[in-house]
Subunit: 231 residues, 2 copies
DNA sequence: GACGGTTGGTGATGGTGATCACTCAGCCGG
DNA sequence: CCGGCTGAGTGATCACCATCACCAACCGTC
């Protein structure tokens, strides 16, 4: 069992640091402090001064921002291989979001000073970080566009569900997704209230756009759902 | 007059590439192709494959995304020293926004392949790019938060105006800003319709929150405006 | 000076979704 | 078995803002 765990982590390492020279991986692993967190642990909070970056090895982490009135917007769910807080560490600005584990997770931490040193010493590390930040920026921009440029809530929800389907290859095949979010959280992802999410789901079911078996969401024909988006 | 122009551009170079070793600046300038654009020129368009990055030397450039229904959201106005398209070039994904000059502008272009070479050869260049992308990411996240987590349009407009005041030191002092945007564009920045912007301005004037002298906006007491935000 | 184009101002109307106020179904620990 | 507690479903109401439809200024050009 211990060897299985090591094997799994080893695979994660290979995926996360694909193409790195062994020396760079070695250097990163030496500076990284890997910890297990329970559900609900806060890795860092919005507006904190940056201390370092976090690498998700296992589990899922919720990234959210919080408005002055207390309302919350979930930016995205981070998954194994994702890098959190890099933009803040590089730019020196405070963390732009709050990171909270959604399930028991294993997460590595690299101090700001260590990271900057690693970036100087190993060009691949610098490029790796830059690419991650760039990719995050890119997808965040698309997120904004989808959120703001579609005022109807049903369009936003349809977008979210289609996004879930696209996320993994099997989902796209089977049209099935496991819902790991409450209606409240879904509302926070698309910027609407919990009640509206409830009503939208009810409406979608009535229109035969979705079915629900316990925690699994079934989308019989994806096209019908997508037609809501362009509309 | 020619020498004055050269002097001004020289100063821009110093600001943009502050702290660079001369060799790096030299290398950048050799790869950069600087061009003058008229108002309304499109540097690149959303969803295009990335060709290279643009450095604003003079003028202002509008960065916007466009929804499926044709509506537009302005992400930000880029100014001299800003870097456009870097995230796309690094991540290899398509441009996430459209860049269009708002006034006659001078803009340098660096091809993707040249940039990647420069980043490999000069560590400072790599870091410079990374910092720019990170800073952009950071401020974009804050933008989202402000836009989505305040459904009242007046709050958004107040935020925008306060942001203008903070933008330059003199504005903060005098409480005066020059408005270079139409109501339509303001609407596109805060995600509301042109008419709503008109009505909001009228309302703000009635409440003595702002005055308007031609193209200059006067904010008598900034605090009153800010109180709209927290509310 | 008479135009077309762009920008701004304003009224009337209607839809959408937030909000309040419940009820109900699970689920867990006592 | 019975409180709590969290998540979910739903009705009623209402503010806000998009939209449509004008008109008034303004600004270039012809």
């Amino acid at each position: 069992m211990a060897t299985q765990t090591i094997g799994r982590l080893q695979k994660e390492v290979e995926k996360t640091f694909a193409g790195f020279p062994p020396a760079a991986i070695e250097a990163i692993e030496q500076s990284a402090l890997t910890t297990s967190y329970p559900t609900g642990a806060v890795l860092f909070a919005e507006a904190q001064a940056p201390k370092g970056i976090f690498i998700v090895r296992r589990g899922r982490v919720k990234l959210s921002v919080c408005g002055s009135d207390g309302r919350t917007l979930i930016l995205r769910m981070a998954e194994p291989g994702d890098l959190l807080g890099a933009a803040s560490v590089i730019s020196g600005r405070e963390y732009e979001a709050t990171a909270e584990t959604q399930e028991p997770s294993e997460i590595s931490f690299i101090r700001q000073s260590d990271l900057l040193r690693l970036m100087r010493q190993h060009g691949e590390v610098a490029l790796w970080i830059t690419q991650h930040v760039s990719a995050d920026y890119n997808s965040t921009c698309r997120e904004i566009r989808d959120l703001i440029l579609s005022d109807s809530a049903s369009e936003k929800l349809a977008r979210l569900i289609v996004g879930w389907l696209d996320h993994s290859a099997d989902s796209r095949q089977s049209g099935q997704v496991k819902m790991a979010l409450t209606h409240e959280e879904i509302g926070q992802m698309i910027g609407t209230s919990r009640e509206t999410v409830s009503r939208l789901f009810a409406g979608f079911k009535k229109q035969r756009l979705i079915q629900q078996n316990g925690a699994t969401l079934v989308v019989p024909n994806r096209m019908a759902l997508q037609s809501l988006i362009t509309a």
